[in-house]
C-alpha cells in the first residue's frame, strides 16, 4: 500500500522530531513564529510545503486525513497532497470534515464547527503579518518581542481614511491570546471568527519562510479593529445555487459569455452534506 523506500510520512524521524519540537514551542507561545529547518519537499514552494511538513510530523497510522484547497476536496492541490500522504503513510483519507482527525487546508476553515481532538493544519505563504508595512525582518521581530503593533493599526486607519472601510478581505491580521499579532494565512476574513476559541488545535506551517506557529484549543483570537469601525466579516449577499445556503462562504462563478454569475459554497463537503435546493425549504 505505502510506497517502498520511504519512511512513514516521507520525512525521516529526526526531521519529524525537529518539527515536533518547533510545534511544541509554537503551542506553548500562541501566535509566536517559531523558526524551523524547513526541508525540500517533492513539490514547489507555494504548494503547501509548510503544511505538508507539519502534517507529516503529526500524522499517525490511525489518523484520518482530509485535505482542502479553497474549501474544496477535489481541486488539484488537495487531490495531490491527499494522494501523497496516502502513498507515503497509507492512512485513511476522507472528504468528510466530521470524520477527519487531521485537516490540512489552504485558504479556508471548514464551515462545520470543529471538535476537540481534531487538528487543523494551515498552509501559509507568508507568516509575517507586518511584512508589507515593515520590510526589515529584524525590525518586525523586535516589534513582536515588544508587542509594538501600532503600525498595523496605521494600515487599518489608512484603509478607512481612503476607502471608508477596512478593505482587507483575506489574511486579516489577528491578535492571539492578547499578545502576538498573527497572520491567519490567506483565509477570508469571513473565517476569522471561527479561529476564536476553536476546540480544535490549529497549526500553521510556512515552508519557504521556515516558520511554524500555532493556536492551541480555546485560545482567544481577535481580529484587529477600531471601536467605531468594528471588524465585519464580508460575505457575498447571495445563496448557493446548489444547496441554497445563505450562511456559508461563497465562490463566485462566471457561467457564460454574457457575464452571468452563480454563487456556490466554497466548502464542498458542507454543500454536499445539505439537501439539494429542490428539496430544501430555504
Amino acid at each position: 500500500m505505502t510506497e517502498a523506500g520511504y519512511n512513514f510520512g516521507y520525512l525521516d524521524e529526526n526531521t519529524k522530531r525537529m518539527i515536533r519540537r518547533a510545534l511544541l514551542q509554537a503551542v506553548a507561545l500562541p501566535g509566536y513564529q517559531v523558526p524551523f529547518g524547513s526541508r525540500e519537499m517533492p513539490l514547489p514552494y507555494g504548494w503547501g510545503t509548510g503544511g505538508i511538513q507539519v502534517t507529516a510530523s503529526i500524522i499517525g497510522a490511525d489518523d484520518t486525513l482530509k485535505v482542502i484547497d479553497q474549501g474544496a476536496d477535489d481541486t488539484t492541490n488537495a487531490v495531490s497532497i491527499r494522494r501523497f500522504f496516502n502513498r507515503v503513510t497509507g492512512v485513511a483519507t476522507t472528504d468528510r470534515t466530521a470524520e477527519a482527525t487531521i485537516i490540512q487546508t489552504r485558504h479556508r476553515v471548514p464551515e462545520m464547527t470543529l471538535r476537540e481532538g481534531q487538528v487543523l493544519v494551515y498552509q501559509v505563504p507568508m507568516p509575517e503579518p507586518l511584512f508589507r508595512l515593515e520590510p526589515r525582518v529584524a525590525e518586525t521581530k523586535r516589534m513582536h518581542a515588544l508587542a509594538d503593533y501600532g503600525l498595523m493599526h496605521v494600515k487599518l486607519y489608512e484603509d478607512i481614511a481612503r476607502h471608508g472601510a477596512v478593505t482587507t478581505s483575506y489574511n486579516y491580521p489577528v491578535l492571539v491570546n492578547r499578545r502576538y499579532l498573527m497572520s491567519p494565512s490567506p483565509i477570508p476574513a469571513f473565517d476569522n471568527p471561527k479561529l476564536d476559541r476553536m476546540p480544535a488545535l490549529q497549526l500553521f506551517g510556512a515552508g519557504r519562510e521556515k516558520r511554524i506557529y500555532a493556536v492551541p484549543p480555546y485560545t482567544e483570537v481577535k481580529s484587529l479593529d477600531f471601536e467605531d469601525h468594528p471588524f465585519k466579516p464580508a460575505r457575498a449577499d447571495a445563496a448557493c445555487v446548489i444547496c441554497g445556503s445563505r450562511a456559508s462562504y461563497l465562490d463566485e462563478l462566471i457561467v457564460d459569455d454574457g457575464g452571468k454569475r452563480h454563487f456556490v459554497c466554497s466548502d464542498t463537503d458542507y454543500c454536499a452534506s445539505r439537501p439539494p435546493l429542490q428539496e430544501a425549504a430555504e
Binding site: 515588544l146 509594538d148 486607519y157 489608512e158 481614511a161 481612503r162 477600531f226 471601536e227 467605531d228 469601525h229
Partner: protein, 251 residues
C-alpha cells in the same frame, strides 16, 4: 525644581576621534536648551546618546531618575513613544512617506493604544491646524508636501502624544529662510503652550537665540561654554564661542 534629564561624564570615542569628552548636561522641565557648534563637534552624537539611540563608553544619562542605557529596550521604546519625541533634520527620516498625513499623526496615538478611529482623526485634524497645514489635506501623502510642510507634519506627529521632552536635530536645516522663520515661530509657540522641555541641536546661532533659554557650545566633543543664551551670545568667554558669534552673518 529637579532636572528632567541629567547626564554626566559622557565619553564616546570613534577610534582616535573624541565625539564626546566628559560631557555633562541637565535639562529641567519646560526648558529649551540649544547645543551649538560646528559640524563634527559631537552635537548630533550627544543628542543620540541622550535619546538612548547610542550607548556611551562611559558616563550615565538619567531620565526622571532612571538610567536610560540600563533600562530594557522595551522601556526605552515606551519612553520614545510617550514621554519623548524626536524631530529629525530630514523629515523623510521621521515620517512614513507612504502613509497619509492623518495616519502619520495618528501613528503615535495608535501605538499608545488609541483604538477609536473618529477620535484619532479628530486629533489629527486638530494637530494639522496647529501646525498650519490645511486639514483638507489630511488624506494626502507627505510626498506631495513641501519641505516646510513635511517638517511641520513631523512636529505634529511628534507632539500629538504630548511628550515631556523633545529632541530636535537641526529642525530648520535645509529650509529656506522665510520657511525657517515660520517654523521657528511655530516651534516657539508650541513649546511655550505645551510647556515642553526641548533639546535642540543646531548650527544656526540665530535660531538658537530665538528658541533657547540656555545654550551649550561644543567643540571637539567638549562643552567649551554654557550659560543663558543671551549671556553666551552677548558676552562670549571662550575664544571659540567668540569666533562662532563673530562669524554670524547679518543681513
Amino acid at each position: 525644581m529637579s532636572a528632567l534629564m541629567r547626564a554626566s561624564g559622557l565619553q564616546l570615542h570613534f577610534g582616535k576621534v573624541a565625539a564626546l569628552d566628559d560631557v555633562a548636561l541637565e535639562i529641567h522641565p519646560g526648558e529649551v536648551v540649544a547645543i551649538v557648534g560646528e559640524s563634527g563637534s559631537g552635537k548630533t552624537t550627544l543628542l543620540r546618546v541622550l535619546a538612548g539611540m547610542m550607548a556611551p563608553q562611559q558616563g550615565r544619562v538619567l531620565y526622571d531618575g532612571q538610567d536610560v542605557h540600563a533600562m530594557g529596550e522595551a522601556a526605552r521604546r515606551g519612553l520614545m513613544r510617550s514621554d519623548w519625541g524626536f524631530v529629525h533634520q530630514n523629515p523623510r527620516d521621521g515620517l512614513r512617506l507612504r502613509v497619509s498625513a492623518g495616519g502619520n499623526v495618528g501613528e503615535r496615538l495608535m501605538a499608545a493604544g488609541a483604538r477609536h478611529y473618529g477620535n484619532i482623526r479628530a486629533e489629527a485634524t486638530e494637530w494639522l491646524k496647529r501646525v498650519e497645514i490645511d486639514p483638507a489635506r489630511i488624506d494626502d501623502m507627505p510626498q506631495t508636501f513641501s519641505g516646510g510642510m513635511q517638517q511641520r507634519l513631523q512636529i505634529a506627529r511628534t507632539l500629538v502624544t504630548r511628550p515631556r521632552l523633545v529632541f530636535m536635530d537641526e529642525p530648520t536645516g535645509g529650509l529656506d529662510v522665510s520657511v525657517q522663520a515660520r517654523l521657528l515661530d511655530l516651534i516657539r509657540a508650541l513649546v511655550a503652550e505645551l510647556g515642553l522641555a526641548v533639546l535642540i541641536v543646531t548650527h544656526d546661532i540665530a535660531a538658537a537665540r530665538l528658541l533657547a533659554h540656555r545654550m551649550l557650545v561644543m567643540r571637539h566633543g567638549q562643552v567649551v561654554e554654557q550659560g543663558l543664551t543671551d549671556r553666551v551670545l552677548d558676552d562670549p568667554q571662550h575664544p571659540y564661542t567668540q569666533l562662532l558669534v563673530s562669524s554670524v552673518l547679518a543681513a
